[in-house]
């Protein structure tokens, strides 16, 4: 059985239907890339998977690891191993990065019935993973994402991914706004986390990220549905020809 089974998913925001019958199956160990024009529903899919309440599912099912994901709150999904790397990571003044991350890890551990990590267990791991993402250790004591550059924020998302070791990692346009060095570092972090028991859903607007992250499948999302699926070669074709030829009908929602 697949790790993630999305069947005929319909979802709305503020009464506007964005996802209109999306079906997708992701196995553990695989990397799936979801591409598509602005407004096609890529980020909506990410938010639904992370269980954001403002995104209402009106029809369809999502089975995650054999369980009904739509029954889960955001924190339950997180504890069950769903991780979303945010397109726009949120700044939280007043909460330190290290405290935040250790508390998050302990929330997950508590859910699994494991002992909490103390600072002595946590710090060496944190420092090691920061090194992997070429992050300045000083960021550790700053507030969550506060005053971080765009690249630092995205790296911090991947750092959290590397610490929380989820089963399903969703990357929502993690590449957008990154220069080539930052992109390389982020991809390096993701590649280091690839594992047989872990799946990635990589949402991206550009093919560029896929030069660095080896993807198994590419899906093209148009108007709330998967219009086309294929192997990595599909991404290259999209880069050359644009999205227009993939559209099921002529309507592409503007951004």
């Amino acid at each position: 059985m697949a790790l993630l089974e999305i069947e005929n998913l319909h979802a709305s925001v503020d009464g506007h239907e964005i996802l209109k019958g999306l079906t997708l199956s992701v196995n553990a160990g695989e990397v799936h890339s979801i591409m598509g024009p602005n407004g096609s529903g890529k980020s909506t899919l990410a938010q639904v998977l992370a269980r954001r309440e403002a995104y209402q599912v009106t029809a369809g099912t999502i089975l995650y690891d054999g369980k009904d994901l739509l029954e889960m709150s955001p924190e339950e999904a997180a504890c069950e191993g769903v991780f979303l790397a945010f397109q726009y990571p949120v700044e939280i003044p007043g909460i330190g990065n290290a405290y935040f991350l250790r508390s998050a890890m302990n929330a997950v551990r508590k859910h699994r019935g494991e002992d909490e990590l103390d600072a002595m267990d946590f710090l060496p791991l944190y420092k090691e993973r920061m090194k992997l993402l070429e992050m300045d250790e000083k960021l550790m004591n700053r507030s969550v994402n506060e005053g971080f550059s765009g690249g630092e924020k995205k790296r911090n998302e991947i750092l959290q991914l590397a610490m929380l070791e989820p089963k399903l990692a969703i990357l929502d346009e993690t590449d957008s706004g990154l220069d080539i060095d930052a992109l390389r570092i982020v991809a390096q972090g993701v590649n280091a986390m690839r594992a047989r028991d872990r799946a990635f859903v990589v949402i991206t607007h550009y093919q560029r990220l896929l030069d660095y992250i080896k993807t198994d499948f590419v899906h093209v999302l148009v108007d709330g549905k998967i219009a086309l699926s294929g192997g990595p070669e599909l991404a290259l074709e999209l880069e050359e020809r644009g999205y227009a030829w993939t559209e099921a009908d002529e309507q592409v929602l503007p951004a």
Binding site: A50, R52, S73, G94
Partner: protein, 491 residues
Amino acid sequence: MKRTRKTRIRNGHLTQDNKASNTGQLAGYLQAYGQLRAERHEREPLWMQQLREDAWERFSARGFPTTHDEDWRFTNLASVAKIPFRRVLKSNVAHLAKEIEPFRLPGALCQLVFVNGHFAPELSEADSVPTSLEWCALKRAVDCGIESCAPGGIEQHLGRYADVRRDVFAALNTALWDDGAYLRIRRGAVIDRPVHLLYVSAGEAGQIAGQQIMTHPRTVIVAEEHSHASVVEDYISIGDEAAFSNAVTELVAGEGAVVSHYLVERENLASFNVSTLRIEQARAANVSSHSILLGGGIVRNNVHPVLAGEGTECLINGLFVGAGRQHLDNYMLVEHAQPHGASRQFYNGILAGEARGVFHGRIVVHKDAQKTDAKQTNRNLLLSDSARIDTKPQLEIYADDVKCTHGATIGQIEEEQLFYLRSRGFPEREARNLLLYAFAAECLDRMKEPAVREFAEALIRARLGDLVLTKDSAGGAAEVAEEKQSWEEVG
């Protein structure tokens, strides 16, 4: 004239310029004033008698402010003015030792306890106070005069700064204070642990219903040149009875002195608390005022620094947390009188239930105060639809080379932040609590005295924990009433 007035008071009548509406409301205060005069008249030096008399005249002429007063527009005292508060005579309070124990400040250098307005030596601890810090109960300091208790002359400071003409509560305090603390930090002395002043309102056993206690604590802090000290003024209640605390503190910071003042308001929810901190800063003095308002039913917190010397720095830092029907009014008046002064005001408010907050931030830059750098920020979180904040910045600039900025924000817990935390596994309640705490922690981070910081942190955590548990604080994200103002004025 003076004689006539005294006679009138002794006869129990009000002077003629009183408004008729005040007459009934002021009777209790008049009685207290008459009683106090009878007790104190023989002992007090003339200057003090004169101060009390002038102040009483001022108070009795004006009575309680109404919402027609611009400075009281958002705070209606009509219900409080009706309550016949009474002054309590000094009594033995040794039996309260156990009850005040949980209110002590761990790590304090000393603790001076005042119960119902009177110094309680039996509850105080001041054994390890170095000679560089002189302390005395204010009543004794005034009665003894210059020689023994107050070298330098307490009459140089007491009543010199608090403005009885502008502020009726300062007038009422000056007329009616029974006692308080007098602290003098000697030139160059570094007092490295905080002084804790605990002002207790304690309902008495067998208290007659409707006979609520009033106190008018008066504190004088004189920090001489280049001295360092931290003082915590802490207001608490024993029991659930309503009480009226009307405190005035005059803090004088000499040249280069570094003083931190902390106000903690944690009285019961039936209490009415007015506190006025008047700061006078000499050249290069650095004063910080931290207000932590967690309790009280109706609370008015006045902070009024005058940057009277060149190159002074003043930090005014505050946090107010209200729930239920609490009303927390913060009135700041920062006066820059000399060049190169820097003032920073940061007030954060968290309001749940039907609580109401007020932030009135007035900055006055006088003609000579060139190169003034004044900044004011008021941030507010409203946790329910019925909570309310009125925030009112006010700049008066008479100098032409100054930098003044002010801004206010009003919002709710940000749904984005809440979701971010939840998406990382934080349970919703914990995430809300963490965000509230982070908002409050901005104020905590400005408190540099470690013992007080730790103490304040525990109080704030406990208060916020209560807020998150109340149902009304979990207000929906759908109805976000947000209003942002931010503007800058550079002359």
